[in-house]
């Protein structure tokens, strides 16, 4: 069967059919669609050019974007690892401390150094590993400081290609030895295309030892390393700190501060900027983890709320108002490190005086376990040494306590406190020498501390589960941490900045952050 006759070239371009021209032009059987072919070729060539343009642009751009992404994700990995380690450190401050850095979670322990396994996470296979070590112990409180070193690794997707940083090229760029690297993106991101430049140049721990050429797997990849210092949070970091409602103080009251290690309290310093102690007089800070607070009196310090609407009133708050400072107060339980209690006394239902058999230390005090306390307990110093005492009262405190000079007392109470201010006798003059701790009820029941007039007191209260009420117009030196606070008297309140260093750790915070950018 013959193929249908094709129209001639001229018929295509002129629009005149071959039949109409049959008298003038002969039929040429081997002429075919050259114009169509040329058009297709042209389109093909132009398409190739366009595709090449797109390919060139997108390939290099995508590669550069990949490198940027991986570099940033490596930091995310390192910070995630630091969070993992930080979480373990925070467990140390809880009653569950024995479960910190457990082998079941992949940690290995060597002395006071803890090393994690490698954690892989995310859709891009990010990896992190951490080391935590105890590098400093506070000589006053015995609280530990920890150092976290975390390494984050991000595999670089795609082939081993350079990015779009060639405009700055004038040096060696992808050698194993990182100290001779060039510039541009390579200098910043330090991509390990084949070998681990850090191990080759600085050693695996970065201290210059055990340098080696080590191939990276998977290759290529980026690593980033950070070091965090984790500091203990002590109980008494503000004059008043409550997690709930706050009302106070009286309209003529004031809260200021001083530092007992510098000198005794002087009420005139807070209004004398030229005095060298002035800086220490402006830390009468009130922290409220609530949006509702009734603030009266003068605050020579900062005022923090959580979503509150407190605005600065020059006459009231002399520091900074920040309405976006949320925090939590965890429930409190008695420390597990306390030694075995003394055999006697076991209760104070008559006026009692004790002289501890040993001076002890903040971490190893003389312990008295009491079942009731409604009379006066006087605590003497052991010789001339600073004497450390811990009292654990398993019921309510309705008596009085007299702390002689040179004595440091931590008073742990399971029940409520109902006393007059004059019943709290601290002859040392330092609030840190008489620390009240209200142990949080495990059954969720309410707890309160009522301090009534008359009298003044020098002490600290840490009661995260208790409602604190103070009546009258006492002169107070110390700090209060409670669930709520109510006080309507014209109190003069002095926070001792030396309290920053006292008390057992209640939590940890990150105090320093550095990145090893080598």
């Amino acid at each position: 069967m013959n193929a249908p006759e094709q129209p001639s070239f001229l018929s295509l371009i002129s629009g005149i059919s071959d039949a109409d021209k049959s008298m003038k032009v002969s039929f040429i059987p081997n002429e075919r669609g050259n114009v169509l072919l040329c058009a297709v070729c042209t389109i093909f060539i132009i398409s190739l050019i366009a595709a090449n343009v797109l390919l060139n642009c997108t390939t290099r751009y995508n590669q550069a974007s990949n490198q940027v992404r991986s570099w940033n994700e490596a930091l995310y990995a390192a910070e995630s690892g630091a969070d993992i380690a930080f979480n373990q450190v925070r467990i140390l401050a809880t009653s569950n401390s024995l479960n910190a850095f457990s082998t079941s979670n992949g940690w290995t322990t060597s002395g006071t150094t803890y090393t994690s396994g490698t954690t892989t996470f995310g859709t891009n296979g990010l990896r992190t590993s951490e080391t935590v070590d105890l590098f400093y112990t506070d000589p006053t409180s015995g609280n530990a400081w920890y150092r976290i070193r975390s390494k984050g690794t991000s595999p670089l997707q795609g082939l081993k290609r350079t990015g779009m940083d060639d405009r700055l090229s004038n040096g060696n760029r992808f050698v194993a030895n990182g100290s001779t690297r060039g510039d541009g993106d390579t200098l910043l991101r330090k991509i390990d295309f084949k070998y681990d430049h850090f191990t080759a140049t600085y050693g695996p721990t970065g201290d210059g030892t055990n340098k080696a050429i080590v191939a990276v797997s998977p290759a290529p990849q980026l690593n980033r390393r950070i070091e965090l210092i984790v500091a203990p949070i002590t109980p008494f970091e503000a004059a008043i700190k409550v997690s709930g409602n706050f009302y106070g103080l009286g309209s003529a009251a004031y809260i200021d501060s001083y530092r007992s290690s510098v000198g005794p309290y002087d009420p005139t310093v807070k209004t004398k900027p030229s005095d060298y102690r002035y800086a220490d007089s402006q830390s009468g800070t009130v922290e409220i983890d609530n949006s509702t607070a009734t603030i009266m009196g003068d605050i020579y310090g900062n005022l923090y709320t959580n979503g509150g609407t407190a605005t600065k009133k020059t006459l009231n708050v002399h520091g900074t108002i920040d309405n976006n400072v949320p925090f939590t107060l965890d429930s409190f339980s008695i420390p597990s490190y306390l030694p075995t209690p003394q055999a006697s006394p076991t209760r104070v239902n008559a006026n009692t005086t004790v002289t501890p058999p040993a001076a002890g230390t903040a971490r190893a005090p003389t312990v008295y376990l009491l079942s009731s306390f409604d009379k006066t307990l006087t605590i003497n110093q052991n010789g001339s040494s600073d004497t450390y005492v811990a009292i654990h009262l398993t019921s309510d405190f309705t008596g009085a306590i007299d702390v002689k000079p040179g004595v440091h007392v931590q008073f742990f109470i399971n029940g409520n406190v109902d006393v007059k201010a004059r019943d709290i006798i601290n002859e040392t003059g330092y609030a840190g020498n008489l620390q009240f701790y209200s142990i949080s009820p495990t059954d969720g029941s309410s707890q309160h501390i009522n301090i009534n007039s008359p009298g003044n007191f020098v002490a600290t209260f840490y009661a995260p589960s208790a409602d604190f009420t103070m009546n009258g117009n006492p002169d107070v030196t110390g700090a209060i941490i409670a669930k709520s606070f109510y006080g309507n008297g014209n109190t003069s309140w002095h926070y001792d900045r030396s309290l920053d260093f006292l008390g057992d750790v209640t939590d940890y915070r990150i105090a320093s952050y550095v990145e090893d950018i080598r």
Partner: protein
């Protein structure tokens, strides 16, 4: 009346050749024009991407340094940023590195000062002097420079007139730095200000050493 069929006819008529040449000229003109346009387009896109990558590099440099800085200050025109950064590693130019070469390349152990406050410092080894670097970001012609203790590094360089801007915000217990980098593409077609605005890359970084307790 029909003409004889010539089976061996192989040439073109003058009209055909002229027509074909005209078409060929048009086609080649189209190819050349397209190629030039594509080349220009490639240059424009490549330049845009390359400058964009440099934008990101400036942001990444600044971000990295801000996060680990102790102090960040910016000039009034927001184009010069000065940072104080702890010196984590002993360098050969440091006083402790010069007095004891074995310390060079080692990491400093931070010191805690419990007498006044709990500031963490990376001191020069054997002293109580904090070891810090001063890093300055600035513009010099078409280049963005990073100067650390006098050592200059060109962070980015482009004829597209890169302009970084940084502002520092210090709150009660925290501090952050906002950064934006713009450039003016070589191939602009309209309002220059709008062209620049359209290239803005923005970032915000908190100083990790100044965080809420």
């Amino acid at each position: 009346m029909k003409l004889t069929h010539h089976s061996h006819q192989s040439g073109f008529t003058l009209a055909e050749i002229l027509t074909a040449m005209a078409i060929a000229v048009v086609i080649f003109a189209a190819i050349i024009t397209s190629s030039l346009a594509m080349q220009k387009s490639f240059n424009a896109v490549d330049n845009y991407f390359a400058t964009h990558i440099q934008q990101i590099r400036i942001i990444d440099y600044l971000n990295r340094d801000v996060k680990r800085a102790l102090i960040v200050t910016t000039s009034a025109d927001q184009q010069t940023v000065t940072l104080t950064i702890p010196k984590y590693v002993v360098q050969s130019t440091d006083q402790d590195g010069q007095s004891n070469s074995s310390l060079i390349g080692t990491m400093r152990t931070p010191t805690i000062s419990p007498t006044s406050s709990y500031q963490v410092n990376y001191d020069y080894v054997g002293t109580t002097t904090p070891a810090t670097s001063t890093v300055v970001y600035s513009i010099n012609g078409a280049s963005i420079l990073r100067t650390e203790d006098g050592v200059v590094t060109t962070v980015a360089s482009s004829t597209d007139s890169l302009v970084p801007k940084d502002s520092d915000t210090e709150l009660t217990n925290t501090e952050y730095s906002t950064m934006s980098v713009t450039f003016l593409p070589i191939f602009t077609s309209g309002n220059v200000a709008d062209e620049r605005t359209g290239t803005t890359v923005f970032s915000l970084a908190y100083l990790r050493n100044k965080r809420r307790g």
